[in-house]
Amino acid sequence: MSEIKDETRGADPKYAFRSEAPLPREERVARLLKTLEGILKAGIYDLPLEMYLNTCAKCNNCAEQCQVYQATGDVRDLPAWRSNLLRRVYRKHFTPSGKLFGRLVGAKEVTEEDIDAMVDGFYRCTMCRRCAVNCPLAVDNALITRIGRVILGDLGFAPKNMTGSVKTQLLDGGNTSAIPKAAFIDTLDFLEEELQDEAGVPIPIPRDVEGAEFLFAAPVSDYIMEADTLIGIAKTFHAAKASWTIGTENFDAINYGLFYSDEKLEKILNRLLAEARRLKCKTLVIGECGHATKAGLLFQKVYGRSEYQDIKIKSILEVSHRFLKEGRLRLDPAKNPDLVTYHDPCNLGRGAGLYEEPRELLRAAVMNYIEMTPTRGMNYCCGGGGGLVIAEDLHTWRMEVGGLKKVEQLRATKAKIVVAPCANCKKQLRELIQFHKLDMELAGLHDVLGKALVFEKNP
């Protein structure tokens, strides 16, 4: 079949975010096909991908569950419509029926304009997976978004802040926030002083302790933004008399590879596992961070090096919850009298099934607790998921579109504190609260837990 060549090739449109170095326009189509072929061959996503690309009833149930579509009502925000941008390419180039019957079976040759639409579309989805919960065929548009993003990443499209942060992280001793080691140590010292002031007893933040049971890695931005979370975590470990440590060679759990690149995901994950191995820790504990937890839990088996397979990966929520269940935490809820609500980070809830652990911790640590509606499996995304929260260019979109549903939901609770154990969610929710002038504060789970923990003075 010959194709009519369009002589008047268009120039790039204005994309919603800046990318570092997109491929020249005319090279994109060929590269996209090559990358997609590679992904199909790699066999990592075999079953889900083949399922999702072959079966979708086009029933549109997904749209009614998507906070983005609900905010815009725009046809291009219909999840199935967006997924079709990739599906039809797959059909055309990788299925016999698509090659044979083309448009008759929903297949279509990919064009540069289609790629523009993908750049736009796949970064208007927060990969929250809410739409998958009530898909009659159990199709997950979020995975298609992810595959789309990985392909686009290969074409050089990904928010600049994201790729820039990853570059910084992958430098020797690097991390996404470019915190030098000396500054990191200074920060830990500062936190120890704060801990002493708050708890009235010295509480150490152990560093590079070989053979500790837990290696703790926070999303590194916590060391700039979330003092209370870190303080709460140190208190929890201390109260439980757990053997834990922080590694000063690599203390950043963030893994933006999850949002745009399998290759980066693999590198970042293995760096972190290497730090656990260096310190001979059996368990890698990821701090309050949804995407980093999911990147570890879901991809360790496929991307973790074989020599690291024995290292367990856990969320701090599971670990603290276990301490609670074992009666190792003494909590005084009176320290948290305000009405508290809980936001389920998508990657911890739908992505990792951590629904009850944080709730049980909260109920033990606060006086007044209220659920949001809807909650748990149907809780709304903060609107900054899928890494969108670090794309500065998308700030207005996140405030006015992505987070709209969340704001309504928050407002309805009348809570004074919204707890979200995820660095991405924290940033987004804090910005939403400021932007929409909500009478509410944001806190991490361990911020609240830390306040309630009781320590014996001079034991």
Binding site: A182, V220, I224, M225
Partner: protein, 106 residues
């Protein structure tokens, strides 16, 4: 490299307007930028105190300090910080102080 002209002088900045080199900074730079970061009129003494504090820490450690530390060392709470720098301490205050743009999830 993008440049920006403020109060008759040109500066090399990144695409978001963050100064590229710490020592090209001067007080006019900060003052000229104030308006774009939501601060009306002249920078006050409190602004200057914070700006110099950030610059000192950055000179020593190559990064801005933890926000909690900023508050503590300057005897302010977070609310006050946001009053002074409406676009936030990480963005607004660092920008005026001539620090490079924070990366990652901040």
């Amino acid at each position: 490299m993008p440049q920006i002209e403020l109060a008759g002088k040109t500066y090399d900045v990144d695409e978001d307007g963050f100064l590229q080199e710490l020592d090209k900074w001067n007080e006019e730079f900060a003052q000229a930028y104030a308006n774009t970061e939501g601060i009306e009129g002249q920078l006050t003494e409190e602004h200057w105190k914070l700006i110099h504090y950030l610059r000192n820490y950055f000179q020593q450690f190559g990064i801005a300090p933890m926000i909690r530390k900023v508050c503590k060392d300057n005897g302010m709470d977070l609310k006050k910080l946001y009053e002074l720098f409406p676009t936030g301490p990480a963005k607004g205050a660092c920008k005026l102080a001539g620090l490079s743009k924070p990366t990652g999830c901040v």
